[in-house]
Every structure is written in C-alpha cells, then in structure tokens.
C-alpha cells in the first residue's frame, strides 16, 4: 500500500480526468520489467467523476510530507480532540450516528464536513431508512436528502477545502473513480474450448476439477438476442429483485447503476428470479455440460441454485469459494467480466479465511485488491487462472476454487451452482461437517440437509453413493502405487509443478 502511495504523491486531485503518472527519467533502453513496474504507479480516473471529487480535494498523506509550503493537515486541525482517532475509527463512530446527527456534525468544521460527507455512511443510511424505495441521484448523501424531502439539496458551491490529507479517504475516492488498468487484463491463461463433447468436458475439466471457458454453447439462448433493457423492463415490470440488503424494481436499479460511481457498487443478485418472472427462466436453458443436477432430488427443499446477476462496471464479488462445495457455471449474456481463480489449496493474497472455513474475510474491495495484491502473485509458481469472459461465453468454476469477478462494463449474467456425480461425495462431506450450521448456505434447514440429501439420493439412485466411494478409493490406491517419478511426471498436468 505504501509503495503505491509514495508514487502518488505528485497527484493533486483537484481536476477529474487527470492522468496520474510518475515522471520517468529519459532512457534509451528500457527493460520490460521496468516498464511494467513503472506503469504500476499510474492511474487513470474515469471520465465522469463524482461531484465529491471536485469539491472535496482530498490528498494522500504523502503529499503533506513532500508538499512545498503547507505543514498542517486540515484533517487534524478541524477535528478537535477526535483528531487522534484514525480515519477508519472515526468513521466507525460516525456510522453510529443517524442522518440528522451526521449533518449537524458536518457543520462543526471543514474537516468534520469532509468526514461526514463520506458517501458509504450515507449509503447505509439510505438502505436502512428507505429500503429499495429510493431514486438515486448524484451521491448517496443527495439521495438520502432527496428521498426525505422530495427535493435534492443545494450542495455548497464555493466551499473551499484545501490541505486535507488522508490516505483512507483518498484511497476510497481513488478506488471509486479510477479506471480498470489495462495491464490487469493482459493475462488470459484459461483453457478455451468450442464445441467439445460432454464426455471430453467431464474427463478433461470436471473430473480433474479444472476451470475452462466454453465458447459458443449458449448461442441458441433466446436471452442473448432478447435481453435488452427495454425487454427486461417490460417483462419484469412490477417485480422487485434482491439488490444487496434490499429489494428494488428494475427501473430504480438501472437509475442507480447508471449514475453511481463508488468503490463497491451494489449489484442485483436474485436467486428467485425465475419464480418471480417465469419468462426469464424460459429465455435460457442449462448448457449440455451441466445437465446433471443431483440437488434436484430435494425438490422444494433444495438450496438456492440459480441467480440472475446484473451490475455496472466495477461491481462484482471479491474472493470467495462457492457454497456447499458445489461447482458452478456462469454465462455472460451482455457485457464482460474479468475472472481470477485460485485452486482450492492456494489462498489468494489478502484473503484470511477462518480456520473452520466458515468465514472468508477479504477485507479489501476488488479495486483495492488489484491495486495492492494483484502484483504480489506475479512471481508465484502457482499463478492464478485468469480470463475475460465475454457475452456468449460460459465459464466453469470447479468446486473449492477461490474466485474474484469484476464487471468491466455493465453486464447481465446467469449463474447456476450444481452437484453432479463428480462432486457428490465432496458435497456430502461438506454438509456433514460438524459446523454445518454455519457453513451450509442457501437453505433454512442447514443441519439436516446432509441426511435429507443422502436419503433422497439413496432413494432415487440406490447404490450410487457406494459405487462412487469405491471408484474414489480405487483411484486413490492407484495414485499411491505410482512411483515417485511417475507421480512427478504425472503432476506436470496436475496441481503442482515439479522443479529440480
């Protein structure tokens, strides 16, 4: 983090659209690594920056140390005896205030004004006070006041804020307003297949549990042609979809996603979309590779398994492993998504799972992860699998794999999680874990899900579980019998690389 900021000290965020670049010494020869590292420090801001950027010029702390004339930080002088609290602690306290108290606090000083204008504070206030019944305008703060009074507030036009230095707030603005850097898109090392047979998919990807990008397998979906905004608005008129912690009608969501510029945009992610609007469910069908769906034996008691995903550029989900040890496919209908996947045994940098696996703490946002951690796995022997998944393409996410997804443009996708014979035993093991009550998700009856599922499978497919277990044991003993050299050679294609 410090490295990034050091280089950013030249930046003054007074104008949007400013290109931030480190000065380079003129050189005739430049190695590619140098160039690579150099460009690490450059960030471009998006064309349309939020109003807060222009009227609240916050600078990184490094500017205070290296700045030519000013030695005081408006942040500290305007906070009285609260100045000793770090930015995140102060924001923790402010997050406990209601809107009125927060607005009063903003009138205490310029520094108080900057802190209480921190938009994520207002976002929680809007979501907790107005649920999904808000019309987003400009910022969450404006939206709150507009929702309350029916009139947008008149924002200060000539309020002068200068010499305000804060890494925390600066980072937050930067992550909300910077463009996705082109070098984060350069690496594309996923295996791509077009028109492979189901057997080949199973033996080359599903059985060995490896990701693959499948091209051309959803060309026949009506959704590909039909799902325009107009069509969706018409078909889903009057229906509310799950968006973060609230429910919103589509037109309100689009109004929000069209104008928002924030670090973690809310995205629409609804598991019941096809029950709510049956037409949506019949505009696509499951690609041939994923037709086996063993959770279907649970009928109405099955855990959530399919979602519609919509979100603006910059929305997505930070590193996680999919629930209940299921595998998944994700089909992009419009837009494009950047994926980063790590195999189950490699915890991505910046992620700290709890020992029992119940909690996956990735404290940083997606943008912050790219800024601060993406580069750190550049030299890892086990580099992640990366790709951009475009409209019409489907990615297979094998069970247990860590993944991060970010929309590069406004995107609509369908994703389904499933259990097939290849991961049935994994899923059963997962559901049987002693802490199933916290681990299992997508259902109301977490503890009994294992027994219900196992019984239902036994009833519908007698002997299947034992048969799979036998096969797994056979495979395991075969692997054990392999000599050291055989296994080393075998591993060329597998998880780890044998190096001399």
């Amino acid at each position: 983090m410090t490295r990034g900021f050091l280089a950013l000290t030249k930046l003054k965020l007074t104008k949007p659209k400013m290109k931030i670049q480190k000065k380079r010494k003129p050189k005739t020869l430049q190695t590619s690594t140098e160039q690579d590292q150099d460009s690490n420090f450059a960030f471009n801001l998006k064309q349309t920056s939020t109003p807060s950027l222009t009227h609240l010029p916050i600078q990184p702390l490094g500017n205070l140390l290296l700045g030519p004339n000013c030695r005081t930080n408006l942040r500290d002088t305007g906070l009285g005896n609260l100045y000793r609290l770090s930015d995140d602690l102060l924001l923790d306290i402010l997050s406990l205030l209601g809107a009125t108290d927060l607005a009063v606090f903003s009138a205490a000083s310029k520094s108080a004004y900057v802190f209480s204008s921190h938009d994520p504070l207002w976002r929680s206030l809007v979501l907790s006070n107005f649920d999904g019944q808000f019309s987003f305008i400009q910022s969450w703060k404006c939206t709150y006041i507009n929702s309350l009074t029916g009139k947008p507030p008149s924002m200060p036009k000539s309020l002068k804020i200068a010499n305000f230095y804060s890494d925390y707030l600066f980072q937050s603005y930067l992550c909300a307003n910077m463009e996705f850097k082109p070098e984060w898109l350069k690496r594309d090392n996923i295996q791509r297949r077009r028109g492979i047979s189901v057997e080949d998919f199973i033996s080359c990807f599903e059985e060995p549990n490896k990701p693959v990008l499948l091209e051309g397998c959803i060309d026949t979906w009506p959704a590909i042609k039909k799902w325009t905004r107009g069509y969706l608005l018409e078909t889903c008129s009057g229906t509310e979809f799950a968006v973060g912690p609230v429910k919103m009608p589509l037109e309100k969501y689009f109004q929000y996603s069209d104008s928002v510029q924030e670090e973690r945009p809310l995205y629409l992610f609804d598991p019941k979309f096809a029950d709510k609007v049956t037409q949506l469910g019949s505009d696509y069908d499951v690609p041939v590779y994923f037709r086996e769906d063993l959770f279907s034996v649970l009928e109405k008691e099955r855990p959530d398994h399919r979602w519609i995903i919509m979100g603006p550029a910059g929305s997505g989900s930070s590193f996680h492993v999919d629930p209940n040890s299921t595998s998944a496919w994700n089909a992009v209908i419009t837009g494009s998504k950047k994926w980063i996947l790590f195999p189950p045994e490699v915890v991505p940098p910046g992620v700290h799972p709890s020992p029992d696996g119940a909690e996956v703490a990735c404290p940083v946002s997606i943008m912050e992860w790219f800024m601060n951690f993406y580069g750190s796995c550049r030299d890892w022997e086990k580099r992640p699998v990366e790709c951009v998944c475009k409209a019409g393409e489907v990615i297979f996410v094998p069970n247990g794999w860590w993944h991060l997804v970010i929309n590069l443009e406004e995107s609509i996708a369908i994703t389904q999680n499933y259990v097939s014979r290849r991961n049935l035993l994994n899923v059963l093991d997962f559901l049987k874990k002693p802490n199933a009550s916290v681990l299992v998700s997508g259902t109301n009856d977490r503890i009994n899900l294992h027994d219900k599922f196992k019984n239902a499978i036994d009833a519908k497919y007698p002997g299947l579980i034992n048969q799979l277990k036998l096969k797994a044991e056979e495979k395991a003993s075969k692997q054990k019998k392999m000599t050291f050299w055989e296994s080393a050679a075998d591993s060329n294609s597998g998880g780890f690389k044998f190096s001399l």
Binding site: T77, G78, L79, G80, N81, L82, R84, L85, S86, L89, D92, I93, L94, L96, L97, G98, T100, D101, A103, V104, F105, S106, A107, A108, S109, K110, S111, A112, Y113, I145, L148, T149, P153, S154, M155, P156, K157, S158, L159, K160
Partner: protein, 164 residues
C-alpha cells in the same frame, strides 16, 4: 501470569486468562508458548496514564462471564447489572473514551471497542453544531459566507426535519 508494560514504563501483572480477552495479546501468548519466562512480558505501546487500569478493570468485570456474554445466555438480572456497570464505566470525558477506543483497537478487544464507540456517538447525538464543537473542541474555520450560506442551505432539511 503475564506482565504488561505500558508506554510510560509501568508494569501490570495480569492473569493470562484475563488478558486473553485481548485477541492481540492472546495471539502473542500463543505465538510464544513454550518459550522462556521473559517472553511473558508484553509491551503495550500507545497505552499509558490511566488507560491500562481502566482496561484491566473492564477485563476483570467481564472475565467471569465471557461465555455467557458471547452466547447471550445471561440471566436478565445479571445482564441488567452489567449494563448499569458499563454505563458507569463509560461515563467519562471524550478524551478518555478516545484513549479507550485506541487501546481497544490495537489490543483487539471487540466489546470494549464497540462500547466506547457507542458512547462517543451518543455524546455527539442530539446536539447543535456549536455544542458538537464545544464538546470535542473542534474549531470552526468556515468562512463567514460558508457558515451563513453554504452549509445551512445544504442542511436546510435538518432544521425542517427537527422542527416539523
């Protein structure tokens, strides 16, 4: 028994089970387990003056029933008593509360952190901007125009709301 040394060089002897309420200290002890006795000394920097005593008092009061608190299985009477005790404990000036927040943050004592933050936010609630300034000694450096025109016009809804 472990020894905590504050940044003003005072020593505090605390039972390990008590100090374990700080997740930071718990991790340090865990890391050093099985090593020399000198390793039972832990420097707690950025904690000084009356704060170590306050933190230890807080620990002792909570020590007897950490499980109960965690599982909310406390009897109603006990819970009421603890609530009253906490109200008194946090009834102090904003400077001390800030110190407690910093200590609870660096030592990772979640309940102390939440309690102190809540108290500070309570102090800031239902005030006028002048009162907020007075309590937290914030100097108002708005220009006359900003103070008379800009901020009030943005916050007009507050006053309307207040007096509605």
């Amino acid at each position: 028994m472990i020894t905590l040394i504050s940044s003003d060089k005072r020593k505090f002897h605390v039972l390990e089970e008590v100090a374990n309420q700080s997740l930071t200290i718990r991790d340090v002890i865990e890391d050093r387990r099985g090593r020399r006795r000198a390793d039972r000394i832990i420097l707690v920097t950025n904690i000084n003056s009356k704060i170590p005593e306050k933190v230890i008092v807080y620990w002792l009061r909570h020590f007897l029933m950490p499980e109960e608190i965690a599982h909310a299985s406390m009897s109603h009477k006990k819970a009421e008593k603890l609530k009253k005790w906490e109200a008194k404990f946090f009834d102090t000036d904003i400077d001390t509360l800030n110190d407690l927040i910093l200590a609870a943050d660096s030592l990772d004592i979640p309940s102390l952190f939440d309690g102190a933050c809540e108290k500070v936010s309570d102090i800031l609630k239902n005030r006028s901007a002048e009162e907020v300034g007075e309590i937290s000694k914030i100097e108002n450096e708005f220009t006359h125009e900003e103070e008379e025109e800009e901020i009030p016009s943005e916050n007009a809804w507050v006053w309307r709301n207040e007096f509605a």
